[in-house]
């Protein structure tokens, strides 16, 4: 194809892609509204609106012209940025056209109907009441994976919905290392006599906690002109580089929960705010997939917000708003206390969290690969909890029924949480390699150098690079769990003197 012709085709193609993005982002606004401000009675209309946008988006994505443009552009001589756009859109287009729309509808209907079934089963601690539904979802997701690629491992195909560029072998390798190295560390911590400090007691007013987390967002450099903070039952962040919002929630007894969760969402939002504005509408202005996004939230949450230098700088604010005049060291210890006997993933500490993920990964992979029956899930869950964390749930409500993900049909999502933590450690080490130790700057409340380093090495690229390329570009190395395991061992062995 001649250069001028390719340019013309590219422009038509790009207009279409932008439109697709805008419709998707409009749906994101509806979703934010539903979770944050919508009155309860609004659900029936909102479902219709969301579903109409989702159908329109699907039609734009599966449009025959899009396939033709992609064919033409793949044989043209494009610059690397445009090649990246073509690569990302091809991937989404292929996945969308390969799945028959009646299967999409069946999955949507089944998971939608599954929600109340799961809720009731969890409430009544009755896994059997949910088993048939879960079996149906597993079958549908296997069918879904097979429609996309009948020749590849179905779990890998599902996992690629969330993280397309790391490969199942990498995930398995990384998660096995986490299991093999963290289980003994957690064992040692359980045997430790050290009691970490906890300067909090009683309850803390929601308004005071909100002032505190707003101040934390200021302190870290959140751009309020392109964001806002609200509360939501399940904190999340959403939006675009022009409007990247965060949410949080408040536990009256545990103000560090809101603080950590807010800093986590700040990390996501800072990534989003750092995407190039002039590229809004194409993958060059969109974030990389879930592992990278999660690395940004975990980096700020754990490597900054759970560090001793952070509390050295931020302790006065905690004293101001909560009236807790604690030593920074005591705050640091409180933020890093390990609770191996905790059964609930979303309440887990930084360390044992990964065991919750490994367990879910192993179970969901085996379910999809056909190596585990749905009926066996409770037993396997409890055995693995005992093996990895030394604790056994008394009920399935506190065990295999606790998470919503499988009810949504989100098989392959869980591993991205741990991959994000692992990548956070690798990126933080690379940043310190370039900038020198960040302890002093974090102590002084100076976060610009880190934010700029992440902006330069991660955010500004959007989805220009694949995940593995982005990691190599930013760190000079392949993806590795070394940094995370070093960080975890160093921090927790020192805290617990083991």
């Amino acid at each position: 194809m001649a250069t001028q012709e390719a340019t013309d085709v590219y422009e038509e193609f790009e207009d279409h892609v932008r439109r697709l993005t805008y419709v998707g982002d409009a749906a994101g606004v509806l979703q934010w509204d539903q979770e944050v401000v919508m009155p309860e009675g609004g659900t029936p209309a909102r479902s219709k609106q969301t579903s109409a946008l989702s159908t329109l988006k699907h039609e734009l994505l599966t449009d025959d012209r899009l396939g033709e443009w992609l064919d033409e552009l793949e044989s043209a001589d494009l610059d690397p940025e445009r090649e990246a756009v073509v690569r990302e859109v091809r991937r989404d287009h292929e996945r969308a056209v390969r799945v028959p729309s009646d299967l999409v509808e069946r999955i949507s209907e089944t998971t939608s109907n599954a929600l109340p079934v799961w809720k009731q089963a969890r409430q009544e601690d009755d896994f059997d009441a949910f088993a048939d539904t879960l079996e149906e979802i597993v079958q549908l997701k296997r069918e879904y994976a097979e429609a996309i690629d009948p020749d590849r491992d179905p779990y890998e195909v599902l996992f690629e919905e969330y993280e397309p560029y790391l490969g199942l072998d990498t995930v398995e390798r990384v998660l096995e290392r986490l299991r093999d190295e963290l289980v003994p560390l957690i064992d040692d911590i359980q045997d430790s006599d050290v009691d970490l400090a906890d300067p909090f007691s009683g309850t803390y007013d929601e308004a005071a906690q909100e002032e505190l987390v707003r101040e934390a967002l200021d302190y870290l450099g959140y751009d309020w002109d392109r964001g806002r903070l609200d509360t939501a039952p399940h904190p999340f962040s959403s939006g675009t580089q022009f409007d990247a919002r965060v949410t949080t929630r408040f536990d009256p007894e545990d103000p560090l929960d809101a603080l950590g969760s807010t800093i986590h969402e700040f990390g996501h939002a800072t990534y989003t705010q750092g995407l190039p504005r002039e590229e809004y509408g194409t993958p060059l202005g969109d974030s990389r997939d879930l592992s990278v996004h999660e690395s940004q939230s975990r980096l700020w949450e754990n490597h900054v917000g759970r560090s001793q230098p952070f509390f050295e700088g931020f302790a006065p604010s905690i004293a101001d708003h909560l009236g807790v005049d604690a030593d920074p060291r005591a705050l640091y210890e409180a933020a890093n206390t390990v609770h191996p006997d905790n059964l609930i993933r979303v309440e887990a500490d930084e360390l044992t969290y990964h065991m919750h993920i490994v367990l879910r990964f192993e179970i969901e992979r085996d379910l999809i690969q056909g190596d585990l029956d749905v009926a066996e899930v409770p037993q396997v869950w409890n055995e693995k909890m005992e093996e990895y964390l030394g604790v056994r749930p008394d009920t399935d409500a506190e065990g295999c029924l606790q998470d919503i993900h499988w009810t949504h049909g989100s098989f392959g999502y869980f591993p991205t949480y741990s991959l994000g933590s692992v990548l956070a450690a690798q990126l933080f080490a690379a940043a310190e390699d370039d900038l020198g130790s960040l302890d002093g700057r974090v102590h002084d409340g100076v976060f610009d150098p880190l934010r700029e380093w992440l902006g330069e090495n991660v955010h500004r690229h959007g989805a220009r690079y694949t995940t593995d390329e982005l990691i190599r570009e930013a760190t000079g190395e392949e993806f590795t769990a070394d940094y995370f395991l070093d960080y975890a061992a160093g921090k927790y062995r020192s805290l617990y003197e083991v």
Copy 2:
């Protein structure tokens, strides 16, 4: 067409219509978000998202298949409800297909660019700086009207965008009567020696005012499960029968402003909440056009919220929240004080408001019909202000530059405000004809009978009837200004003893 075939066609048609509605309502959520919660930096992305939805909606509305279904259904034997749906969709479809998309784009671009020009002209009190832009908008809107119907009066065609079923002759007849009968009444009031009470002085805390208007919404029976209250610089209501939200604003010196404005939006939202839920997505579940919508807001704002019985019941709440322990009569007088020397429409009282509308109507009609040059607008405006209200603006900023409507290209919108008031009086009279005087119930804070009467006679019909049919169904009469003029004369002659 055979019955079964017509049913099948109707179903396909209705699916398409519902989808169109859902996309429009999704755009409504984005609009609410933009005006109420969006951070300032969000504008560039929001414009793209809104414009993408607007294009998709336009494509759905001008879809050739929709035209074919309409042709087929118009020759089929449908029940009256389905006939009404076909009638409403035909109207929107025709208007959309007749206007060339490049004209739509030129209007959108011109009005979008006009906004900062108008703002600056208003700020600098420089009409000449806005004149060329206004001229361009007038020309484009004439072109627009001609595209829709070259054989009809262009102003009537534009007016029908907002109120398709009352006809320009009716509007002219009604607005002339308002002018002819209200001008002498306002004259008499100006000559009156009566000073109405004003129990308010100083400033009132925004939080206290918000508690007060929330209590007013409770008191009137707003369904919070399907709505919410927020603040916005220009109060509005929006949403669906599942989620009908209101906004208000607070003037520290004038708490009755927020109260009146909130009750006004309550009227709109109560109409929306009263639309049949099972019909959501088609015109049967959508509101009738602007005159009817405005009649609902004005009925609650003026006939209920500005009545003496209302203040008899609600005075204790005003005392509670604002610390103003005033006589109900004094509150009634304060809420109904006439200010003929006020120059600003949005600050006008219930009575002189209509002179602001008549003036705008006469000017915009003459502009569109080619009987007035843009350059003459300031002079004609000032002359009419003097003639109708006995006051002459010193500046165009307080005169013909005060409203945003023409900058938006909204010619034909203004009259619906007065038509709404006129219809409110007619409906309120019909309700009292059926239910007996409502004074006692309003005094007692019992609003269910009125809300149910409106629900039964107006809300539940959606757009089943044309405006004129709906008025006949609800009141047993043709649309008439008699009731409004009786009400206005009775109320204000008594208040001012003239």
